[in-house]
Structures are given as C-alpha cells and as structure tokens.
Symmetry: C2
Subunit: 275 residues, 2 copies
C-alpha cells in the first residue's frame, strides 16, 4: 500500500538576515530527536520550506514604507487590476514568472515595520538548502520552497512550489497509459505543487511552523540537476489568460478605436487631396 507521512518541524527560531538556514533547520530537527527518534532525516525525505524564512535569511526585508516601491521592483507586468472599497487588487507577473497579488510582498509573519519580498531566485535557494542539508545529514533528500497563491476561479489560496531542488517536480504522463493500458488524457501531474499543499496542512499560516518533512515519497527524490520550480511556469505562448478580462477587453476596444481613427485620418487626407 503506497503510504507517506507529513509532519511539521517545530522549534525553528525567528530568522533574520544572514542566518544560516541549513544550521537552524538542522538544529530544530536534532532538538526534536529526544522526543521522536523517527524525526532523524532519512534517504528520500522531502523538506518543504515556507519561502518566508528563506527570504528572511536572504535579507529580503524592506521597510513597510517602501512596500509599493518593492512591488514595482518585483513586477514584470500588471496582469489584472481591480479597484474595490478595500483598496486595489493588482495581480501581477513577478520576475520569477509567478502570477500573484502584490508580487508576493507580504507583512504577515514579518517583524513590525517590515515587509518581505520573495527570495531572489527560489530555485537557487532550494539548491543551496538541499545540498547543505544533504551534506549535513549524509542522506539524499529533496527540498521544496513554497508560497501561497490565489487562483482565478476558485476562492482562497493554496501553497505551491516556487523553488525546488533534488526532486522530480512533475510526473509527465504524456503518451502514458492507465492501469488498463488505455491512453491517459491527463498530461502532467504537478507533484511539487501537490507536495507544497500537503505540507501546508501541517505548517499552516497561523502556527509558526515554517518547515515540514514528507517521508515515504522517496521515489521523487533525484539529482541536484533536476529542473526546478521555474519549469512550472507556463510559457507565454500557452497562456490563454495573459490579461484580466477587463484589461483584454479594453485593449480590444482601444485597438478598434485606433483602427477607426486611422481610417478616418486616411479618408480626411484623401478628401483634403481631392479638395
């Protein structure tokens, strides 16, 4: 019977710029061994780490007063925008290729007066964590770095993988067959996102537990050269929802108006010539 277990790593302290995340996560795990010897990391374990502590260690804090500036810095383009009584919801594409509100810049679980940007390069952060933890514990394990994203057509948010290392992020079933040998319609199962959500069920937002261990899915742990979470970003050519509906509508409206203006201009200059 396929089976796996997920637990939260307690005892990770508040993280600050320059902190050694490998050492602090390792210390928290080692401190828990007295109570639970099973918590010692094993071959095939997957560590799922909230991006917030990665950002904190990497010094991605900005003063809250510079939050808007930081959002602009991390925004590649605005995808959709809506004004409502509580303010403006701005869905943007970040420089990581993520589509999310406010470029992922957040003030919850961050010391007073500060806002926190996403890690500079979450796949690189995952790689550093993964190789550091592999070396420290002498076991082959995978690392996923998560953040919390909304979805366009469903309420609320779920955690997804924004960084990954040493792990197979997708199960590519294209061309595969089902249990009875018939072709599969589903193409690519995104394991890394399912793992991120699975870990969130023990991490949560209000619990202060930033790391979870997943044990029993060692078949997904692989070399450090495997594609990271950046590979989960859909390419522009496949993106059927590149803009919000209101934004795309306006672009179409303006294009038609511009064509009309051009045509009118042409007719006018034609008439001027005739006159």
């Amino acid at each position: 019977m396929p089976r796996y277990t997920v637990w939260g790593v307690t005892g990770v302290p508040e993280i600050g710029p320059g902190d050694d995340l490998v050492a602090l996560i390792a210390a928290a795990i080692e401190a828990s061994l007295a109570e639970d010897p099973e918590a010692a990391l094993q071959h095939g374990d997957i560590l799922v780490v909230t991006s917030k502590i990665v950002s904190k260690a990497e010094g991605m804090q900005v003063p809250v007063s510079e939050r808007e500036k930081a959002i602009s810095q991390d925004t590649v383009r605005v995808v959709a925008e809506r004004v409502h009584p509580g303010g403006v919801t701005r869905i943007v594409e970040t420089r990581h290729g993520l589509i999310m509100a406010a470029a992922g810049i957040d003030t919850s679980n961050v010391p007073d007066g500060l806002a926190l940007r996403l890690p500079e390069d979450p796949d690189r952060s995952a790689l550093a964590l993964c190789s550091g933890l592999r070396e420290r514990f002498g076991v082959s394990l995978g690392v996923i770095i998560t953040d919390t994203l909304g979805r366009p057509w469903r309420v609320g948010q779920t955690d997804v993988a924004i960084g990954a290392a040493g792990i197979v992020v997708t199960d590519d079933l294209r061309g595969g067959v089902d249990a009875n040998g018939r072709p599969l319609n589903v193409t690519i199962t995104v394991l890394a996102d399912e793992l991120a959500g699975a870990a969130d069920l023990v991490k949560g937002k209000a619990s202060g537990i930033p790391v979870a261990v997943v044990r029993g899915l060692g078949r997904l742990v692989t070399g450090l050269d495997a594609p990271g979470a950046r590979s989960l970003v859909r390419g522009v050519d496949d993106d059927m929802f590149r803009f919000g509906s209101a934004e795309a509508y306006r672009l179409g409206y303006e294009a038609a108006q511009a064509e009309l203006r051009d045509r009118t201009d042409d007719q006018t200059s034609e008439r001027v010539k005739q006159d």
Copy 2:
C-alpha cells in the same frame, strides 16, 4: 508535532453503473486489514475519492461517439478556446461551476468505447458516501471527491476537491493573526484542495488506486451540514478572468465597432432628416 499519514486503498474493483460504492470501498478496506490492522477506519479519518469511480457508479458513462454532445450538455459557457495543431483546447465552465477543459469529460481509466461525465452533483455524492461510510464503520469521517484540473499560469494539472462532506473545506483566516499577533495577509486557505493534492500523491493517474485515506487531520472533520466544494467556486463578481484574453479582446473590439456603427447610423439618419 503536527503529523498526518496518507495511504492508498488498493483492491477497489472496476466500478460499473449502479454499484454500491460504500460497500465496495468498505470491502476493499476490510480486505486490507489482515495485512495492515491500522487500516481500519478511525474517528477523524478523511477519505479522498477520485470522481471517476463516483461517476461510474452513478452511470455517467456515455458512448465515445457522443462525447462532443456530452461536453455541450455539461457546458454552461465557453471561457476560452484555442485551435492548435493537435485540435481545439476549449476551457469551459461546467454546470458545477468548475472551469476546465472539455467539461471534465474523459476517456482515460474508462472502458473502451465509453467516455465519462463528472458526477451530477459531487457534493451530494460526497454526502451519500460520507453518511454511508460513517454508518458502516461507526466512526466520524470526512469525504472529498476529486478531479484533476489545469491552471492558467502554471503547467500541468493538480487534483482539487469537486465534492466534499463532513469536512471543513477552508480555513478562513480573515481577521486572524500570525504566530506573533500580527494581521495575516492570506485570507482563506483551501484545505480541501490541499487534501485533494495530498491524496493524489498516493493515488496517481496510472496506478489504478481511486481512494486514499488521510489520518491525523481529524480537526477538519465536522458535521454533515458543512458547506461542500461548491462553496469553493469563485463568484462571478470576483472573477477577474471570466474570459480568455483573446475572447475578452474580441468582445472589446466588437463593442467599439458596434458603437461606431451606431454613431454612423445616427449621423446618416441625421443627414437623411436634414436632406
């Protein structure tokens, strides 16, 4: 340390119209007890069930030749459409409020010559399964029915909850605080979708395992009157991506053209009056 375990229930036979899903799932679980006595269902367990076997038991099979007709039947509106060398990708809103390709009608893991529609009312199906299994085993448990959905900006698919009963589907953190008492930015964690993804990691598409048990998250199990997965569908007023970008662009373009036509007509009739 918060902890939970997920395992797949093997031995569920191929399901056909009219089959008693409660009895067949119960039999598969009971058959596994000899090998693993821990597999007996307990208070607080959550059963995650692939919608495919629910549809099969409910007789949602259609001949493959009627696949297109079934897609039309189950489509409320077309959200986005794209023609590509392999055919047409049509993202639609189903009568369940789900936004997905081909209205969820699928031929993989379905007997030859048949396609399978989604369950008529997945929340009702979940309720029937949940109350049936609670009665059968005399324990309080939750049920989630899953399907596999794509996402607009990320590659591939993940499993989400399309039906739920006896379970808290969201953790509504609005107005809540973090571990340090500061307001949380994240509003609603969608536990049911995270559970669906967590279960997919042992169910998979190619393994023929349609049911998983999640143990250790009993705090999420609740009364049978809790909101189902239908409550996870975002309302029209909050939907910033109601149409594909190309579709919205075209609507805007056509609206500007129509306005122009009206104006020209007005001017023409004005001139006719003057003449």
